[in-house]
Symmetry: C2
Subunit: 234 residues, 2 copies
């Protein structure tokens, strides 16, 4: 079933790294934000992610990289929390917390195994600097950073998957997307990608309601990246 597989591409936020806990910890470490619930702050910030990209997908706004969208969204969240005591340098430092996210425990050892047999690349909406800095910070052993900035389209636009495959000179049927999100996998499958669902049931905290189970028929369903490596013969 996976004989033709050459490259495994990964959603990053939530699938490879635990953005919510990482952002919450960074928020708590800032004296001016000490009294704010870090997880609530992270959720509010992340809540503005899809609407910001949607303006670009729809053509309402020119291409803008995620670092800039994150920064604009951060300013809105700070205003909602009535915080006006951070200067621009402090805000940009916090904004780059997205470059310092912590991987789930199985991510690095699983990726190392998968890399021994396949090309492993990111297919994220994160910009290149964000993904490269995160990789250096967290020892994520990517062969290549593909996705939004390199191809100029935000997921789930079909171009984001199709142009990423084309850049490796591969057919979509030679590529697999790994994600903890059903919507991303369904979009990739429509483009002809193989798919692997790995649940991350605490991505949104203990009360997570969505993406606890696969809701479509994927190529592989794995418990974590180590189980995925085993199921792909690595």
């Amino acid at each position: 079933m996976t004989d033709s597989l050459k490259a495994i591409m990964f959603d990053v936020f939530g699938t490879v790294v635990d953005w919510r806990r990482s952002i919450a910890n960074e928020v708590r470490a800032i004296p001016q934000l000490h009294s704010i619930d870090g997880e609530l702050f992270a959720d509010r910030w992340r809540g503005k992610y899809q609407p910001a990209m949607e303006r670009i997908r729809s053509g309402d706004r020119a291409w803008t990289k995620l670092d800039q969208l994150h920064f604009e969204n951060l300013n809105e969240v700070l205003e909602e929390f009535d915080v006006d005591s951070l200067n621009d340098a402090a805000k940009w430092h916090l904004n780059r917390a997205w470059h310092r996210l912590t991987p789930w425990d199985d991510s690095v050892p699983g990726l190392e195994r998968l890399k021994s047999k396949y090309i492993i690349a990111t297919l994220s909406n994160g910009n290149v600097a964000l993904i490269v800095n995160m990789a250096k910070h967290a020892a994520l052993p990517w062969d290549m950073v593909l996705g939004a900035e390199v191809v100029g389209h935000y997921k789930p636009q079909p171009e984001s998957y199709l142009k990423s495959a084309a850049m490796l000179d591969l057919k979509p049927s030679q590529c697999m997307l790994v994600a903890a999100h059903n919507s991303d996998l369904v979009a990739a499958a429509k483009c002809g990608f193989m798919t692997a669902f790995v649940a991350r049931p605490t991505e949104y905290g203990a009360d997570q309601k969505i993406d606890l189970e696969p809701t479509s028929d994927y190529t592989v369903v794995a418990d974590d990246f180590i189980d995925l490596a085993a199921k792909l013969g690595c």
Copy 2:
């Protein structure tokens, strides 16, 4: 002098890998090309590289990735050698010899050391598939593939250097180009990059005439990548 250095970018053909010997060996391994001097074939093929890119730099031809330029150039070289016995599959296999080039002995150990302290990325005119496949083949541990295809410009156009730095969210002054070619380093320096010259005195064979010595004042001159790592404190 190099305190601000964050990312080291590498020319690839000739600087990291020994394209001439690798291509010559692949030519010799093909029965229909058995009687041809492999090095002469490699030189003729490589000789068509700059003219093919020049048509794109000048705007005379739309963006075309290097694999395609290599293929068109290969057809011309085969014709010059009066070879008409290779079918398209055999020609594409030979064309992908550029994905299977062998590194100089110091390349991998030097890169491993440099990677421990800096972002290491390619800044090559090779397309992404070529560079990624070469990295898998030769265990080149790149953090990122930048350069021509990702930024849409062939070196030595300034955009190729400037957009590669921008994609890492770095100033040119935080980046260094490593190359065995004076012309590439001079172009990068004009864009504000730091520069490192590493001579590869047999890139063009025993009678090489150019690039035996640095001809400008570079940030670093190193004997090989291991010496470069030592000089950059890795």
